[in-house]
């Protein structure tokens, strides 16, 4: 389901106009992004946990050319589904 469909369905379910829903989704996404930037953890019960993980620097090799690269450390966002959700799909 792409973004458009998602927003239209969301607008329907929460009795909002599509514009409203779009704005709100944008806002929500912004909030999640901001929190993740501050390395906060967001837990949505029944859904999962949005978290950030640190990746250490590593040496990677291009298998074809054999060229070695030094990949710098980075912070990545991650999502862990909750047990309830996992069971739903099992």
């Amino acid at each position: 389901m792409n973004n458009r469909e998602f927003i239209s369905k969301l607008a329907q379910k929460s009795a909002m106009s599509i514009e409203e829903a779009t704005v709100n989704v944008e806002q929500l996404v912004n909030i999640i992004t901001e929190r993740l930037k501050d390395n906060d953890q967001i837990t949505v019960s029944g859904f999962g946990v949005f978290d950030v993980k640190m990746r250490k620097e590593r040496i990677s090799v291009n298998p074809k050319s054999g060229q070695r690269m030094l990949v710098p450390p980075k912070i990545v966002p991650s999502f862990r589904p909750s047990a309830k959700l996992k069971d739903k799909f099992k």
Binding site: F6, I31, D38, R58, I59, V76, F89
Partner: protein, 352 residues
């Protein structure tokens, strides 16, 4: 920073930013996540701009072992929920590290392509350029070094291991190593002249090393005359001229320094005039050995003076131990050495 938020926190923030009531935002966010789940159930994939993509992935069944009983069992194939963050989200989260970029590592080894030049075999005059490029697979590859390379998924650390696969992949890269290795095992492929020069230089090097070794080993034995131990009795006798122990010298100095200056010079004159055999110091100790008390095994951090103190209650008697063990060098005490500890009987000082 590093806080934990839950659903209600999220809704509260949304209410504030979107300027809607808390109740409305709570409902909204609840619906938001429920809809994601619904979308996943129905279509298996949900994409949200700016956030990312939630996707159901099929996981194949695999066999596994029960950790307690050790029996095998099957983990059935199932679906797994994954989240792929959107690029904007990734960039924003990684902002502190955004300045870094992957960097090519330039190895010491050079490529096949580069190695055809003269520069490749720079230090080794003996190595023919033709050799270095071709003889990769023949000789031992990584004699000296070098660990390299990591599989990205498995290890995020910098620890590098020498994986045989990757090393074999890099065979072509180890040209310089080859040339180093070749110095030790020159190839017959190369010209005969180079071969000869290599051998000659190695021989001269070996001869020089031998000479150095002999010289140094001789250096150690020179101070001791006749190869006998340095100290016999703690007296200045002609027989023991070569080995004045440090103790004796100290004693002598102490005796002289105690006296007033004028007397010191008189004494020195006297000493100088007397034949050496007559000079014996006031506190000279004289012992004779009469059988052995025991053998002592040298442990860590043990010195001759300590050992002497243990057995004789007198640190100054260590030269006797040296003598009766026929030690060539009293400085070289090894751990585990077996020393004969002689039984010492004091002999009356003939001079006093």
């Amino acid at each position: 920073m590093d806080a934990k938020l839950n659903h209600s926190d999220l809704s509260a923030l949304l209410a504030k930013h979107a300027d809607i009531s808390v109740a409305k935002s709570e409902l909204f966010s609840k619906t938001f996540f429920e809809l994601i789940i619904e979308g996943l159930e129905q279509e298996g994939i949900v994409k949200i701009n700016g956030l990312g993509t939630f996707k159901m992935i099929d996981v194949a069944s695999r066999s596994s072992v029960n950790v307690n009983t050790g029996e095998k069992f099957e983990i059935k194939g199932h679906k797994k929920l994954t989240f792929i963050p959107a690029d904007t989200l990734k960039d924003k989260v990684n902002k502190p590290f955004a300045i870094f970029e992957p960097v090519e590592i330039i190895d010491e080894y050079t490529d096949d392509a580069e190695c055809n030049d003269d520069e490749c075999a720079s230090d080794d005059v003996y190595i023919n350029e033709a050799e270095s490029t071709n003889s990769v697979t023949d000789s031992n590859i990584i004699e000296n070094e070098q660990p390299v390379v990591i599989s990205p998924e498995q290890q995020n650390d910098i620890t590098t291991e020498s994986l045989p696969d990757t090393i074999s992949q890099q065979e072509n890269k180890t040209e310089n190593l080859q040339s180093e290795a070749q110095e030790k095992a020159p190839h017959s492929e190369g010209s005969r002249k180079n071969h000869k020069y290599a051998i000659i230089s190695l021989l001269t090097l070996a001869v020089l090393l031998l000479c150095g070794a002999i010289y140094y080993s001789n250096k150690n034995t020179f101070p001791v005359s006749d190869g006998k131990p340095t100290a016999d009795k703690l007296s200045v006798d002609t027989q023991q001229q070569s080995g004045e122990s440090s103790d004796t010298v100290n004693n002598q100095q102490q005796v002289i320094e105690d006296e007033p200056e004028s007397y010191k010079f008189k004494l020195i004159d006297q000493l100088a005039q007397q034949p050496l055999s007559v000079i014996t110091l006031k506190d000279t100790l004289l012992y004779s050995a009469d059988g052995q008390i025991t053998t002592h095994r040298v442990g860590a951090d043990e010195t001759l003076t300590k050992i002497s103190h243990i057995y004789y209650n007198d640190k100054r008697l260590w030269p006797y131990i040296v003598k009766y063990n026929n030690m060539s060098d009293h400085n070289r005490l090894a751990i585990g050495m077996e020393l004969i500890i002689p039984k010492l009987k004091p002999v009356d000082n003939p001079q006093r």
